[in-house]
Every structure is written in C-alpha cells, then in structure tokens.
C-alpha cells in the first residue's frame, strides 16, 4: 500500500448506518467515499417499521422538518389476531405527534436525502458500485476491491446490511443461526391520503403503526406490521426462519393469508399494490453481535447485528444511526492519532457500550428467548378473545364477575396455569 490512501475512510453501503457515518466523518474533515451497489442510494433498502428519530435529529439538526418523512406516528396499536377476530390495545396521544420522534419513512426517499446531505459536506458518493471483497495487507484491511478497481483507505466501514458479506469474510461475525434471522415480506399499498386518514383515524400529519401477532403468521414465530405513509400503507409479515422451515410453510402463502384477513381487508379496500419487497431481519438481539472492529475495519448497523424486537417496538434504523455516530467519533480520533488498528479503533465498542444502543441491547437481551415461546403466536390471542367474549357476548345466561369469567377462559385454554404463569414472568423480565 502506498503511504497515501485514496480516502481516509471508505464506507460500504448507503443505508442509515453508512450515510450517518459518512456524514459525521466528512463533517469532521476526513475524506470519505460512500459506495452503494444500487443505482441510487436507497434502491436496495426497505424499511419494515417505525424510525425513532431522536438520534437522527442530533446528527441532522431540524431532521423532523427537513427530511422527507411520511407521517408522525401518534397512534400505536398492538393486536392479537385470531382467525375469526382480534383483540387490540390502541394508544393514541396528541403529544406523540407534537413531541414524539416516531415517524414512518420510505427508504427510497429518505436515503436519497441522506446521501444528498453527505454530498453536501464533501462525501464522494459512488452509486452502482458493488464491493466484491475487502483488500488485505497481511492481517490488516487496507481497502476494498470492486471488479478491477481497488480503493485504499485508512479505515473501511462495513455498513453493508444484514447479509454483510464483508463482516463475514473478515471473520467478525459467525454465520447466523436460522432462529436468529427472520424474513420480512412487505407490500406498499397506495391509498388516497384523505381516505387513509379517515380509515386509520389520524390527522393530516399523524399516522398509525400496528404490531400484530397471531394468525397473521399462521402461528409461525414472528408477526405482522402495518404503518401509514403519506399516501400509502406499508404492510407485511416477519417470519422467523427456523419456524418457517420447521413448519414447511411458504412465505408467499403466509403473506397472502395475512393481507386477505378481514382485519387487513377492511383497512386496505380499494388499495393498489405499488411495490413488493422482502428483506432479512436480525432477530437474535445482543447474542448476534459479533466483533465490531478489526485492523482497518469497523462494522455498523444491520451488518453488526443491531436490531431489537421487544414485541411492542421493532428497532433497527435508530440503532444503525447510533452505532454510526459512535463509529464515526472513534474513527475520527483514531485517524487523528495515526492508529487505525483494532486497538486504535477500540473506542468504538467502548463508546457504543455507553450509548443508548449498547444499553438497550443489554436491557432487552432476554427478549429473543421470550419471543421464541410458541404460545404467543396462537394461544394467547385466543385466550384474550375468549375472556372478552365471556364478558361481552350476553346470551341470556346469568353473568359472573370478571375474575371468574377470566378464570373460566384460562380453564378452557389448552395452556396450563404453569405455562401461563411462566409466560407472564418471563415477559415481565424480558421486555
């Protein structure tokens, strides 16, 4: 390697983690190349949930007003879906719209904006550029190889997403187990905004996000999601691969079953599918996070395994941004100190541990294990519906108080008292 590399930092992947890292590094005065294999930034990216934008507002002042966001999420629903009905918790609050940070996004628009912010601070964006492998000098990463091109850098950032071939090739991440991965299958369904607002009970800027569990996945571990964009709805399922394979189910059939369910059908009547997509999701939580640094290499975002499913919230994009902020600070210091070895970059995992990313990953370390419980994907929803049926479906027989009605429902459920107690206890500990 020549003494002067082409760039201080080469960032692979123009998603949330890659653009945030590139923006921070260029803002700090480093020379940065941002490589994206899609035609444009965002072309390969798919969101499957809400962006909790507090960290984005720290990186990009005025983010909530300036960025091309879809809707402010001021209504959240958690829904246990059964074959014949559903039981929901529905929380709407005006303060979520005025002070909250949860927004829906479409990555085609958001990522293009993020890449433009990067270019404005001097990042060199190279789109349509697939990185084939890391460039090594001994045990040290010194750049990337793309076709016949070699780009040399002091530090390479692998922001290449959940499949991260770069992190795998560097041995930083073991092959994920099937139980640690899920496939998200999603459609974007166009609806006229006024119609959408009436159906979902939201205002002109407001929006709904739903987490759905149960019959949406036909009992397969995972769940359904639905959230409103400005003039469309993103809807889909997330299916844990170990369970999908074990049940020999078809991801297409499960998705089609969900969107035909009366719960969905009434909300999307007359809508038109304007895009269909799928994406792998990390489901293993803290246990999936491998080594984050190597000599000359740093891993961020989905590539590092930063995703959190707590049942009520599913987070990836905010963790991607948080990891990128920590990585950028550590790299800036390492380049200034002239040491970009793993030891020189060790500030990144240290900063991360102290940030909301590290803390939340630890807080929810037990969540993946809890969410493996198969009772969540069928029996719990049926029990809730049965108990409410006992309260609300008056058939002329004398009534019982609430508690005996609920106890009768538990007795009728295939779940034992012990199973139910353990589920409750584990849930309280994990979530």
């Amino acid at each position: 390697m020549s003494d002067e590399p082409d760039f201080d930092v080469v960032v692979v992947g123009a998603g949330i983690a890659g653009t945030v890292a590139a923006y921070q590094l260029a803002s700090a005065g480093l020379s940065v190349a941002l490589l994206e294999r899609g035609e444009v930034a965002g072309a390969k990216n798919l969101s499957g949930g809400v962006l909790y934008a507090a960290v984005m507002s720290q990186v990009f002042p005025g983010f909530l007003d300036a960025a091309p966001l879809e809707r402010r999420i001021d209504r959240n629903q958690v829904c246990f879906l059964n074959e014949d009905g559903w039981v929901s918790i529905d929380y709407a609050d005006r303060s979520l719209g005025t002070q909250g940070t949860a927004v829906s996004v479409l990555r085609g628009r958001l990522d293009a904006w993020l890449a433009a912010q990067c270019e404005a601070v001097g990042v060199q964006l190279l789109a349509g550029f697939r990185v084939d492998r890391l460039l090594w000098e001994g045990a040290r990463v010194v750049g990337v190889v793309a076709g016949d091109d070699e780009l040399h850098a002091r530090v390479v950032i692998a922001a290449d997403g959940v499949n991260s071939f770069l992190a795998r090739d560097a041995g930083l991440r073991p092959r994920q187990e099937l139980g640690q991965l899920a496939v998200g299958v999603k459609a974007v369904v166009a609806l006229e905004p006024g119609d959408l607002e009436a159906r979902f009970g939201v205002g002109a800027d407001g929006g709904t996000a739903m987490a759905i569990v149960g019959d949406c996945t036909q009992g397969i571990g995972g769940g359904g999601f639905l959230y409103t964009n400005r003039a469309s709805v993103s809807i889909g399922v997330v299916l844990r691969l170990d369970d999908l394979v074990a049940k020999e189910a078809s991801s297409v059939a499960v998705f089609e079953h969900f969107i035909a369910h009366p719960f969905v059908d009434r909300l999307l009547a007359g809508g038109e599918v304007i895009e269909y997509g799928c994406h792998l999701v990390n489901e293993g939580g803290q246990a999936m996070v491998g080594n984050l640094v190597h000599d000359g290499l740093v891993v961020v975002g989905d590539a590092a395994g930063f995703t959190l499913n707590t049942g009520l919230t599913v987070r990836g994009m905010d963790l991607a941004a948080g990891s990128a902020v920590a990585a950028a600070q550590a790299i800036t210091e390492a380049v200034a100190a002239g040491d970009t070895s793993a030891a020189g970059l060790a500030r990144y995992p240290a900063l991360l541990r102290e940030s909301f990313v590290g803390k939340d990953m630890r807080t929810y370390a037990r969540a993946p294990r809890f969410l493996e419980n198969p009772l969540l994907y069928r029996e719990v929803g049926l029990l809730a519906a049965d108990a409410l049926h006992g309260v609300l479906a008056l058939d002329g027989t004398p009534r019982k108080h609430l508690v005996p009605t609920a106890l009768d429902a538990v007795r009728r459920s295939p779940m034992s008292w012990g199973q139910l107690a353990r589920l409750g206890l584990e849930g309280v500990r994990a979530l």
Binding site: V189, L241, L244, E248, V273, Y276, C278, L280
Partner: protein, 95 residues
C-alpha cells in the same frame, strides 16, 4: 383489496436485469440431497425457485429481491448466491 399473485406484485417493482451474469446458481444434486431445494422454493418471497417438469430446481434470477433468505436456509455448497453487479437487480423506488 383485490387478491394479487406474486407475479402481479413483482410487476410493480423496478428491476434492471443483468443479462450477462446470473447471480444465483443452484447445485442440483446437493440441493436435492440436502433438502435445500424444498426449503428455498418455500421460503423465497419472490418465487424465484420452483420445480421444473424435469425434476430440477428452476431459477428466475431476474425476479430476485436480494433478501438473502435462500442463502440462509441452504445447506453449505448447495447454492451460490451473491449480489448482482453494481447497478443491476432490484431497484426499490418506495422502500
């Protein structure tokens, strides 16, 4: 909402097909002997894989949405799967 097939939904997606370089190769014997064939056919949300009449696994790589699910469920060596060359493959406009 009107029911749609995978093919109809994929028609709404923009693809830039790399006619010169397929990015997926199924190793037929290993795919069949390891159960990989059944798994990738069932798991792929884009319907890229199906049983051909001659008993081999057919591949329509042009419809690949590049999620990586097939690679995750495949037995080692049964499937070669990489990203398409830069600028090719699925190009989401909504995302």
């Amino acid at each position: 909402m009107r029911p749609t097939t995978v093919t109809e939904r994929l028609a709404a997606v923009r693809f830039v097909v790399d006619e010169d370089e397929p990015h997926i190769v199924v190793h037929q014997e290993l795919a069949k002997s390891t159960g990989t064939a059944e798994r990738i056919i069932a798991c792929c949300p884009a319907g890229v894989y199906w049983w051909a009449p001659d008993g081999t696994v057919a591949v329509e790589y042009a419809a690949c949405l590049e999620c990586g699910t097939c690679l995750a469920v495949a037995a080692p060596g049964a499937l070669e799967w990489r990203y398409p060359r830069g600028g090719f493959g699925v190009q989401y406009r909504e995302g």
